[in-house]
Amino acid sequence: MSDGASATGDLRDTSLDGPTLNVRLSRVWGTPRGLLGALTTVDHKIIGRRYIVTAFLFLFLGGITALVMRLQLAQPESGLVGPDTYNQLFTMHGSTMMFLFGVPIGEAMAVYLVPLMVGTRNIAFPRLNAFSYWVYLSGGLFLWISFLLNIGPDVGWFAYVPLSGPEYSPGKRADVWAQMITFTELSGLAVAIEIIVTVLKQRAPGMTLDRVPLFVWALFVNSFIIIFALPAVMIASTFLILDRLVGTHLFNPAEGGDALLYQHLFWFFGHPEVYIIFLPGTAFVSAIIPTFARREIFGYLALVLSLIATGFLSFGLWVHHMFVTGLPQLGAAFFTASSMLIAIPNGLQIFCWIATLWDGRPVWRTPLLFVAGFFFIFVAGGLSGIMLASVPIDTQVHDTYFVVAHFHYVLIGGNVFPLLGAIYYWFPKFTGRLLSERLGRWNFWLAFIGFNVAFFPMHISGLMGMPRRVYTYGPEMGWGDLQLLSTAGALLLFASFVLFVWNVAASLRRGDVAGPNPWNAGTLEWATASPPPPHNFNRIPLVTHREPLWAERGGLPVVTGLSVSHRELMVSSVAEAEPQLRETSPAPSIWPLVAAIAVGATFIGSIFTPYAVLWGALPVAAALTGWFWPKAMPEDEE
């Protein structure tokens, strides 16, 4: 690789240096200006940024639906919204948070950061990456535009049959839900494949498996969970559409179908989904802690094994969502045991993180504050989770506000708090400017207090017998005061997000300039400029240590030999990351967008007529033909 100029005459980075190299590479890897450039880009940083911004947009929309629900429940017999609207609101809230925010946000951060952290120039399959974003965006817009047109779903984010079936949900509402699943799961699967291939085959030389950053490990394991879990829900939603649209009876007990089959399919996805949301949270925590503890992570191997164990165990718990469906009791007890077992790898991770902080010299900046908030909230949610694993307890609190409290503790604690910390942490890398530390502290305390005031009382509401998904309740039930308190907390939590947006908007213009490594962190994304140039690194770093920037204070060693006249990156071996090949990386293309439009039109058409699948196949085939039309690759010419 590093044997100097090649015999074929193309220009390699070996013969250039400094600013000249940077300019050449930026020109080769850059995205053209203007609308066409924006629509054709395959740069993982531009697409990752869009992914992150879009996921946050959906987080806000989901938050607003939550706020309206909280205002409705603030007092008994409130008439702010009726049952019809309320049922749509909680369906939109759950669907948006799970499918349009929860899954995509982890992948969005991965799309931006994983290629930088493993030291490569772009993600694997960059055009697929562009395609996945457009599909995700169309799915999200499809759901929300339907809602605004008053044909949005109203059957819950889980859409249980027979309620969502043809007999009890006439109209298109349930179809909109089912087809939104297809959109978002398609994009989720595409990104998962990109991440896996990037991690396995594009790591910088020397980044053996035991030097891979924990952030990357977490998102790598996460991608496998996605690949095995998402097909189950796509089957469930596709069967649902078949029942509704072409008159199959897969879930109709009157014709030999089975309503419970749907729940098994849904939760076989639905439980791993919780870990799909949580593992990116662990990724953020594992990246933030060493930087601010000023010490390497404690128990690297234990943490990696915990991630993998969580990945496997997450597929063995789904029945604990179905303890009251009348399944065989001994079978249910097996899932009690497996649900308690998963607390072990997760507890182990917490201990490793605490040990790292304990032994380090923690610097309490905003990202670390959010991590501390995560510890507190997530552990509380984990404890109520162990309670829920027991069948006798679950039969009482299942589908009550106790469960609502539990999963907001694990999901907001396990994902949103680390995510906010992560945004404070990587914002300088994304934009070149630091977020305001002062506003950050306000942001954290408002969020932490608001969250606990909103959700802690829900445990008690649930134990007092308040069921979920009720649009109102009688004053004689005695839940009014606690519900009012929850609403006050929700307002505080929302205010913290408004402050967050304010901080982002203000810091984009006036924030302190960050420089490449404002936190003195150790991983590779900090080895390049903030924001990084289109090609990420002038030269591919050579990795000798788990925290390369701490090990090589005098500057990273690099490898050379990649072309500077076309997009070329290095392919390395799976375990040892030994350089194997130089591989051309695709240039910008409009075809991913065209294909996404064709696929989206087919999906939307197919909720109206099955023939849309037939006719839609033609534009999809045409777009894919354009996309994959054989082109002469530079390496073919050699």
Partner: protein
């Protein structure tokens, strides 16, 4: 390290064992002296008391009476979507799934009125699908049961007689049953002794003549989305029907 692993395993097994023991006690399936079938509908509960003598069985709605200290077996079915039967102070919940009959047992230890509610989202009026369980002494229970087995009491006044005639002639009788009259519909709650029940419309309103009239006049205002249609009645019919129903003790 090995010791730690074994200890962890033991803790998980012990907790699982304890949980399983509790579960067996709650969900056991031995026969019980009182057997009730509860059938879920959008958005009310059909309640059928079973008896070895078929003539001693009867149907009611949204209100269950049980004797104190006697195990009760509740068989659960649904005719439309999934519901979940839950009376928090008496028992955990159990789903009513179409095509999959299930059961739950409980024993009320103390007399009292216990409120229950559907616990699985079942559509527009999931929030207003309540029921009452009334636990009473054996003698009170037997008296209540005899009362429920009997056909409807004869209307006692002219107004009530006019009400019965109007009820049977109006579309009401297409969906509701009043044993002892020609009204034999089975789509809506059985009304033979509706005046003896404490609530209307699955726990939505306390039973009274005024509330009966209010419910008949505007079911969709009180419980939007409910399957009961608005039936056009003149004021005399409305008056007499609500008097009649209130008198069905």
């Amino acid at each position: 390290m090995a010791g730690l692993t074994v200890a962890t395993g033991v803790v998980v097994l012990v907790l699982t064992g304890l949980s399983y023991a509790g579960q067996r006690r709650l969900l056991g399936e031995e026969a019980a002296p009182v057997t009730i079938r509860v059938i879920g509908h959008q958005w009310w509960w059909e309640v059928q008391y079973e008896d070895p003598q078929p003539s001693r069985g009867f149907t009611t709605a949204n209100e269950i009476h049980v004797p104190v200290g006697v195990p009760v077996q509740v068989k659960l079915e649904s005719t439309d979507v999934i519901h979940s039967f839950w009376v928090p102070s008496l028992m955990g919940k159990q789903d009513l799934i179409p095509g999959r009959p299930s059961a739950i047992r409980f024993t009320a230890e103390r007399p009292g009125v216990y409120r229950g509610q559907c616990a699985e989202f079942c559509g527009m009026q999931h929030a207003k699908m309540g029921l009452l369980v009334i636990a009473e002494e054996q003698a009170d229970f037997a008296r209540w049961r005899d009362g429920q087995v009997a056909p409807r009491p004869e209307p006692a006044s002219d107004e009530a007689r006019a009400g019965e005639a109007a009820f049977v002639a109006a579309p009401c009788s297409m969906c509701h049953q009043v044993r002892g009259t020609a009204a034999a519909g089975r789509n809506g709650p059985e009304l033979t002794h509706v005046g003896s029940r404490r609530t209307l419309a699955a726990g939505t309103l306390p039973t009274s003549r005024g509330n009966l009239a209010a419910w008949i006049v505007d079911p969709h205002g009180i419980k939007p989305g409910v399957n009961m249609p608005l039936v056009k009645l003149d004021s005399d019919q409305l008056n007499s029907i609500s008097a009649y129903l209130a008198g069905l003790k």
